[in-house]
Homo-oligomer: 151 residues x 2
């Protein structure tokens, strides 16, 4: 589990005149407790919190996801669906990548250190502060190759 605590979040927020609220804390905690490799859309998260008896409005969720992605706390993933999905942004060495079938959207996660290194180098060379590095590979999975008339 990652060592990003609520008080670290508070410190970072306050530094810019922003505030720590129960909602932000709940959302951070939710992502931290999510099993590795899971990722939630805004709506997923909203439903999850509803069911957990700790509801947060969809608009706050959207605002918070965007905020935390811009702070580097969440990774924003765009798999082939049209919704964005989020997961906690662990330190770079933990970043994983995705191999996706463009027909059935079957997705495989994998890691690759060489890719991460290349990404970090590129970011640094351009003076960017690196937040996330994801390789997105699209292809046709073995199953879909067999069926001649796919979607």
């Amino acid at each position: 589990m990652v060592a990003y605590t609520a008080s670290a979040l508070k410190a970072e927020l306050n530094e810019r005149g922003w505030r720590l609220t129960p909602q932000r804390e709940t959302i951070l905690r939710t992502f931290q407790n999510l099993p590795e490799g899971n990722h939630l859309s805004a709506e997923d998260l909203c439903d999850l919190l509803d069911k957990a008896g700790d509801p947060i409005s969809l608009s706050t969720i959207y605002r918070t996801l965007k905020l935390m992605a811009r702070m580097g706390i969440l990774r924003e993933l765009e798999l082939s669906e049209s919704q964005k999905r989020y997961e906690i942004n662990q330190p770079a060495p933990h970043h994983h990548h995705h191999l996706i079938c463009v027909r059935c959207t079957k997705t495989i996660e994998f890691k690759n250190d060489a890719v991460l290194k290349a990404g970090a180098k590129t970011a640094i060379r351009s003076g960017y502060h690196l937040l996330d590095c994801q390789l997105l590979i699209q292809g046709i999975c073995p199953n879909c190759q067999r069926s001649l008339i796919p979607v």
Copy 2:
């Protein structure tokens, strides 16, 4: 320019019981004539065709973009905006990657052969037919690092 002709498209479509239509041909040609590095959203394409005096309905455009992405003819890019964008899918060695600022969405394109090789290897190992391989790096650009209270 790439060697994917209308008749190659026709052959591939017919193989699956699909058809070559003037709209599909126009859309293919439009992407082939697009300067390298450009990419269009569905709406961009619609406007472009309108202005060119050869309009195609938005729904057909959406249907065609999805179709061609699934055939591997177009690359589907998800930069940080919420619209998907498309460009012609040149052979793998021409694939380029993106370094994006999460605050201002400033985007830098770059190439990296090692990343492409790693991607191809991963796809093959899982039996996927490789269509596209893109590295997406998110970070904070030098400018936005300087401004303490960004969006």
